[in-house]
């Protein structure tokens, strides 16, 4: 089996007292689109800068195509980067910016210009080659940065929140273009973002990071449906949390309103993650908590509750229901029914198979 395109082992990095990376391992295959997702300070940008070579890790190893690049300076690494602020050279024309990479790799001037023109065509800006970066809009600068980064046809492209400076509409369009470009060129993308929707819509695999560690690696569906940790469950999408405890027979009991629901589905064993009390938490996505018309609907676990709030967000409605001490969210398609309002008595319920259990206490 050929070595992975990018292989990271046990990467550690400290900045003074701040532990930015605490032993991160990751493999990226040829042509993959990987999103590094997490809140600010989680270490995703540090990881990207270590891969690019702008930072030297304190420990661990980075290999590209099987060869260690950990000690190589950035200009010797076979990859390119799209920077958050684009980092276009202000003293060069657009074409010169793009031709800069080929020129540094010994490509003759004329051929470099030709390749630059092709790359510019790729991002649809062939008419703007003679302009200077300051004469371009944000979106155009973004495309030029992209063209400059792919003109050398690297096997691996690093992107540091490349769309964060664009407005929402343009960002959505660029997400689609970027994904098409990636598929067309067959380049592996490692894409840093703090926007989960962006990650879910573009990436083959999402790497969820928190406090210098990888919490979960998986497809968008997997991290949403089966979050590996309480953090992932909380960070990706919205969730209702049902506190649970061991029932003594290897099973669990989860608190749902006044009831303690027995649960025997797959769940993590007691361990360091569950704390001293061996506590675990049930994760229930709002779309799986349904408003029912009777308490004995077959296949459902049900409880009575009182509506506290009804929030309509266009195509969806979020109904906040007080069940016992817990405030639970239920998501439904369409507009809210006429009879639904604050104080309405309702029956809520879910199918046990939609419950997913992670280690640890519920998030307050």
């Amino acid at each position: 089996m050929p070595p992975a395109l990018l292989s990271i082992r046990d990467l550690g990095k400290r900045f003074g007292g701040f532990h930015a990376l605490k032993g991160v391992s990751l493999e990226v295959e040829h042509g993959e689109f990987i999103a590094l997702l997490g809140p600010s300070g989680c270490g995703k940008t540090t990881l990207l800068r270590c891969i690019a070579g702008f930072l030297t890790p304190d420990s661990g190893d980075i290999r590209i195509g099987g060869d260690s690049v950990t000690r190589l300076p950035p200009h010797r690494r076979p990859l390119n980067t799209v920077f958050q602020n684009y980092a276009l050279f202000p003293h060069m024309s657009v074409l010169d910016n793009i031709a800069y990479g080929p020129r540094r790799h010994g490509v003759p001037r004329g051929e470099a210009a030709e390749r630059a023109a092709q790359a510019l065509q790729l991002v649809g800006l062939e008419a703007l080659g003679a302009r200077y970066p300051r004469e371009l809009s944000g979106g155009q600068q973004q495309r030029v940065a992209l063209a400059r980064a792919v003109v050398n046809r690297p096997k691996l492209l690093l992107l540091d929140e490349p769309l964060s400076a664009l407005d929402m509409k343009l960002r959505k369009r660029m997400q689609i273009e970027l994904k098409h470009l990636q598929e067309k060129l067959g380049i592996a993308f490692v894409f840093v973002t703090h926007d989960q929707e962006e990650a879910m819509s573009m990436a083959d695999r999402i790497v969820v990071m928190n406090r210098g560690l990888i919490e979960q690696v998986g497809s968008g569906t997997a991290v949403y449906a089966t979050p590996a940790t309480r953090f992932v469950a909380e960070f990706i999408g919205e969730a209702n949390f049902l506190p649970g405890a061991a029932d003594g027979d290897g099973g669990l009991r989860l608190a749902f309103g006044t009831a303690a629901v027995p649960y025997s589905g797959p769940h993590p064993a007691p361990g360091p993650g569950t704390g001293a009390g061996g506590s675990r938490t049930g994760v229930l996505r709002p779309e799986h908590l349904e408003l029912l018309d009777r308490a004995d609907a077959p296949g459902f676990l049900t409880e009575r509750g009182i509506v506290e709030d009804v929030i309509n967000t266009g195509g969806q409605t979020l109904v906040m229901v007080r069940v016992g001490d817990a405030l639970l969210a239920s998501r439904r398609l369409g507009m809210p029914g006429a009879g639904l309002g604050r104080g309405t008595q309702v029956v809520v319920g879910f199918r046990p198979e939609h419950l997913h259990v992670v280690a640890g206490e519920p998030v307050p």
Partner: protein, 294 residues
């Protein structure tokens, strides 16, 4: 129309400038008055006195300056010293600025270095000249050391030579280039250098293709400042020449302070000014050309 009704300020530009100008006038008064009083008026006085000879308007003073080979010789010495000083200051100051801005990570250390660099500007000329004699004199520290370690057989002469004047000017003018280049360097976005490295440039290539061109305007500003200050310097050349080399400002000073011929002195001043401006304009043009090339 709608915008005008809502009073959007961006849509009523016609009324804005006069108001803004009227508001700005009191603010402008002080700098304009200062400029007129301390720059324009003295310039006019010097220029008009240079155009008078024997109580009548005349170009005789300029003829006396320009038709005499001696003045051309002094001008050559003056600009040679200024050019050598500028070269030496650039070669020393650029790396120093780079070091201070990019290498020194402690703010306190950087501040300390800048203060140290500026210190020469705060000392009096007499103290400084005494310092130079102690350093560069026949029995000075430099000669004693060079003779002591066997590099020289007999002391070399610094005082009273162009080399000595250049050394003195470099010492005084170094801060100007360091501050100008340092400022320019500090405004170069470090991610541009990262981008360059990412695209395959060694640090050396990155410096010459990205960092250097981006702080070229600062360097040129510094070079122009240093060149004009060196070409117009009086005190340092007067002290370090030991009276044995004459630069143009010394001729001017003589006329104004001891001979009291303001007409001839004025013509000398205007001549130096014009030649310096021409050289600076040429330098600016070369700099601009360099800045636009990639």
């Amino acid at each position: 129309m709608t915008a005008a009704l809502t009073g959007d300020p961006a849509t009523v530009p016609a009324a804005a400038p006069p108001t803004a100008l009227r508001r700005a006038l009191p603010l402008l008064a002080a700098p304009v008055a200062f400029f007129v009083a301390f720059f324009a008026v003295p310039m006019v006085v010097v220029l008009s006195s240079s155009l008078m000879a024997g109580g009548a308007p005349s170009l005789a003073n300029y003829a006396r300056v320009l038709l005499d080979q001696y003045h051309w010789d002094v001008l050559a010495v003056t600009f040679r010293i200024a050019a050598l000083t500028t070269l030496a200051v650039t070669l020393l100051g650029y790396p120093l600025a780079y070091y201070l801005v990019r290498v020194v990570s402690s703010n306190a250390l950087r501040r300390g270095c800048v203060i140290l660099l500026l210190l020469p500007l705060f000392t009096s000329n007499i103290v400084r000249s005494f310092g130079w004699m102690i350093l560069l004199g026949r029995n000075g520290l430099v000669n004693d050391t060079l003779v002591g370690i066997g590099l020289l057989e007999r002391p070399i002469r610094f005082l009273g030579t162009e080399t000595g004047i250049v050394i003195g000017l470099v010492y005084i003018l170094l801060p100007f280039i360091v501050l100008a280049v340092g400022n320019a360097l500090a405004t170069v976005d470090p991610t541009l250098e990262e981008a360059s490295a990412d695209l395959g440039s060694s640090p050396f290539t990155t410096f010459w293709t990205v960092t250097f061109p981006l702080c070229l305007p600062g360097l040129i500003a510094g070079v122009i400042m240093v060149f004009t200050l060196a070409a117009s310097a009086y005190v340092t050349p007067a002290l370090l020449s030991g009276g044995k080399i004459t630069v143009f400002p010394m001729l001017i000073f003589q006329q104004y302070s001891t001979v009291f011929d303001v007409h001839y002195g004025g013509a000398l001043s205007i001549t130096l000014l014009v030649f310096t401006l021409v050289l600076v304009a040429l330098a600016g043009r070369i700099g601009n050309g360099g800045g636009n090339r990639s």
